[in-house]
Symmetry: C2
Subunit: 587 residues, 2 copies
């Protein structure tokens, strides 16, 4: 196993043996540890001292179900703290198969007149990966949907591509790194926290992986892995949320729209209410029904990446049966729907597609536009105006650049006081006042407001792993802590977070996940070990943030949510500071 | 003595007896203590929980020379931390004469359709000040130079007026509170840190003071005060910097341009060099000579406020002998001159006047435009383009609003890595790499990058209180600490900071300042006591900042200054973190 370092200062690369200390670190555990070890916490996120670290999970590249994840780490230009963003894509599998435990992009081109790509391919004769640099300037400033086919044409349809859009090139805090899905669409984003701008700041436009001939994943105990894999597959296939034609496969993540709306926790019109009268029109069910009407048949969702048996990615079709976009996630239909008072699915699909094409994170975009509407730049529900603003962002007009700075920056510039953000990152699709545990996650995670960092929605809303009252503050700090630690492990093992539904409810599924890892690594982990593994990652991230000046005072929900009661439950966010502080103090 | 509270939520007011605990607190000492006591550190700076506190100094309103200062405190929308900004104006004297130790503006109007003014006048019959509110909506959105004459017309020429420009109304981090000078110009700014936006957020447009009939300042020991006053006057009149027709009276603060340029510490073109080839053309000497040529005689400077015997404020005249602006400070001619590569004094004067007219801080404006030029928005030296950008700021265009967010926000939005700011506030006119002590002040002061917070330029450049090598890091942390503490006292006693030149060099002047205070207060302070008084204020400010999430990691100079050597001395900023941390640890 190697660490592959690409130095953009002089377009060179270096293959290093994996140090012993990183032996058991994969995915987020490794990206966060390496960022902590190598990136000065107070460096400029777009300067030469920041690094991008890519690492796949423990089981990524194996036949483990739903495990083609790639973690990307670095210092975030959005939050100023550490960032791990991940995506589902064959790219993660290709990296792992070439035995590259971590790909580190460091340095930066001093001259800003060119963009570059790096092709990383398996050299069978040498028995190791090699890197070839190529100029990519001609592909800058363009829709990534135009660009990807050309790069596939150049390198072949079997490669995997990571890239950035104009949002990254413009240096936005709202800019992601995009990976191709199974249909070679540039649609799978490591979206949050502005890592696209970090990649662009190095003048790196593409990371192309060609794993042909590569050795694949070695395992210490294949039988144990297979046993675990089977248990996990069974669990996924038998849980109502993750099973074929179940909630996710039928309606995608957007199945949550009606559920959160019913719970009064669907943030509406820049977090001024918890229910949206147009929710049903923007739901997963509406996507399914619209597709059925337009295509004349039931269309179930597809996998974003090879080996996924949950298959939650939808395609949304136009009336003329052409593809509008793929995919509309829950967070996207919320961000660009309820949060803006927009109930028109076609307009939401247009906005999602534009975000993908420009390299923008849909959550940050929607949260930003909500603040812009609050600040009087646009009326709520003006979806055509919102589409125009996304164009301005992608094209880098004066207004577009402000919006590209993200939710908090936009609030600052337009003097808006109701700004739903933590540590500079816009809030996702769950209202802290209506779902207290997720609010604790938003406040305390090292990532800035992020639902995936500790998805307490499982017990608070979905009844997965038991059922808790979402409005009650009781025990929620401990709940968030447990979810955050477990999540940090899942983000490291390589499975998609959505295996959480079956493994939380079905004990053998959870056991299976651990057996898979033990099979690959030869470890003897139990449930306590994986929580400890995750907690170690969280502590490292926390240390980085503290050294970057982001301490516990940043672990807070914005003032307006503590004083404005949210309809329909008329609750404020009432978690005491001491409880918020306990999340990491007691880790 | 009273605390007068104006509550903008319901346009009411309340006169409270001064609590015993505030008995000896004046000026910055009181504004910072009250902000600490009453403002939640994590509140939104433009929300209802922030407060503005105005307080004059110990000797303000007496016959003490050069002592008409007013401190304004609150939570800064620019830095997110505590802010004290002060100005020289009769307004401070009027407040003190009405026995109002602190004027606190709290709450805010919920409806945003109107602006209000408050007239505070002495009611002789009642023996106390009273407040009358008046609607001021008609004056919003206008050049303050148009507005002031109308307000003077309404209330009489003897009143004093505090107000805000469009920058404040637009909610900018770059927005000041303006007070009238002796010619009733709206030109004396408590400029830094965005307190104008705080005032505007409360929908308060004017604070008009009419002190007619007020009792004035009581003194415990008038003879002692008079003795001290005489010593201080003698010192001011005999020091080459502060004496009549001396450096400040002849050339204003802009006398520093050539001095700093010679020292290689005049930040040029967004802090990329320490010398500017056009420096001489933008200097105080050039202002004097240009005026002489245009007006046909030597024109010495005038006082900004009653009782000032230093008289450093210039007026700059157009070729047709009309007034271009008053005044062009050193920091302004630098910010809008060398820092932008501009050497045209007429254009600089135009920019200064526009900043005053729109309510912008000249330092933050220049630092922001430097970053905008670095980011490619404009060529360096394009003064006409810079003028246009200031118009955009004042008028609130999309680009203007971004720039109004200040140096750091602009850098973030335009992906600029060379951003000269600390704690979100743009750096003033002295290069940290060429003058190490002032860099320590920038890094560590509670205020964000601020030269006035600990003006080590005295020994490092001017040879006042001895002469130190500006390039040497030796002993500079202790130096900055001593200057910061003494400054906090001076900002509380009511004298202008410029008495520092004579009192540092002339022992009897220093003694005189303390005697004045002891005469007013009946205290028995010595030199140690006043340093301790200042240190107490710094500690309170520090505690506020820490609770607002601004800890020692924010006490740092931007990365680029630690890696890019600055011509002509080719020095980096090489003060170790431990030395920076020692400034407050050892306070």
């Amino acid at each position: 196993m190697w660490i592959l370092r690409i130095n953009m200062s002089d377009l060179s690369y270096k293959l290093e043996d994996l140090p012993e200390k990183y032996k058991l670190l994969y995915g987020r555990a490794l990206t966060s540890q390496m960022v902590y070890d190598e990136v000065p916490p107070l460096c400029h996120a777009l300067g030469t001292n920041n690094k991008l670290v890519f690492s796949s999970g423990v089981v990524t590249g194996t036949a483990a179900p739903t495990s083609a994840r790639i973690s990307v780490g670095g210092k975030s230009p959005l939050t100023g703290g550490i960032k791990e963003a991940n995506a589902g894509t064959a790219w993660g599998q290709d990296l792992a198969k070439m035995k590259i435990r971590a790909l580190v992009v460091e340095g930066q081109q001093v001259k800003k007149d060119k963009y570059w790509g790096a092709l990383i391919k398996w050299d069978d004769a040498a028995g190791k990966p090699v890197v070839e640099f190529f100029e990519a300037t001609e592909h800058a400033g363009k829709d990534v949907y135009e660009v990807y086919p050309k790069v596939f044409e150049k390198f072949g349809e079997k490669v995997s591509i990571a890239s950035i859009g104009t949002a990254g090139e413009l240096g936005y805090g709202n800019s992601g790194i995009v990976f191709n899905d199974m249909a070679r669409r540039p649609s799978r984003y490591a979206g949050r926290g502005g890592l696209g701008a970090v990649m662009a700041s190095k003048r790196l436009k593409f990371l192309v992986l060609d794993s042909k001939g590569s050795p694949g994943i070695e395992m210490v105990d294949k039988a144990l892995f297979d046993e675990g894999r089977k248990k996990l597959i069974d669990a996924i296939r038998s849980h109502p949320i993750s099973q074929p034609k179940g909630g996710l496969n039928s309606y995608g993540t957007a199945v949550l729209v009606n559920i959160l709306n019913e719970a009064g926790g669907l943030p509406t019109r820049n977090f001024s209410a918890g229910r949206f009268e147009g929710a049903a029109k923007t739901s997963g069910e509406a996507i399914f029904e619209t597709n059925k009407e337009r295509m004349g048949k039931d269309i179930y969702n597809h996998a974003c990446s090879p080996g996924c048996i949950i298959q939650c990615s939808n395609t949304y079709y136009n009336p003329d049966q052409t593809e509008a976009t793929s995919c509309i996630e829950y967070e996207s239909t919320w961000a660009l729907g309820a949060n803006l008072g927009v109930d028109n699915l076609d307009d939401i699909a247009t906005m999602v597609q534009l975000c993908n094409a420009y390299g923008l994170d849909t959550i940050e975009t929607g949260a930003t536009l909500g603040v812009a509407m609050e600040g009087g730049l646009l009326e709520f529900s003006d979806s055509k105006g919102a589409i125009q603003m996304i164009h301005e962002m992608g094209q880098g007009t004066a207004l577009g650049r402000t919006l590209g700075g993200g939710t908090e920056v936009t609030g600052k510039i337009y003097g808006v006081r109701r700004v739903p953000a933590v540590k500079g990152q816009g809030m996702p699709a769950y209202e802290p006042r209506a779902v207290k545990g997720i609010g604790i996650t938003y406040a305390t995670t090292t990532m800035g407001a992020d639902h995936t960092a500790g998805y307490t929605i499982c017990p608070e809303i979905l009844g997965v792993s038991g059922k808790l009252d979402p409005l009650s503050p009781e025990g929620k700090a401990a709940l968030s802590r447990a979810f955050q630690a477990t999540t940090a492990f899942i983000d490291s093992c390589g499975h998609c977070l959505f295996i959480a539904f079956p493994i939380l409810d079905i004990a053998s599924g959870f056991e299976g996940m651990i057996q898979e890892c033990n099979g690959v690594l030869g470890t003897n982990w139990n449930a306590d070990d994986i929580v400890a593994y995750g907690a170690t990652t969280l502590k490292v991230e926390r240390k980085f943030n503290e050294a970057a000046g982001i301490g516990k005072e940043a672990d807070r929900i914005p003032e307006f949510m503590m004083v404005e009661p949210l309809p329909p439950h008329n609750q404020v966010f009432d978690i005491p500071d001491a409880a918020l502080d306990s999340v990491y103090q007691d880790l």
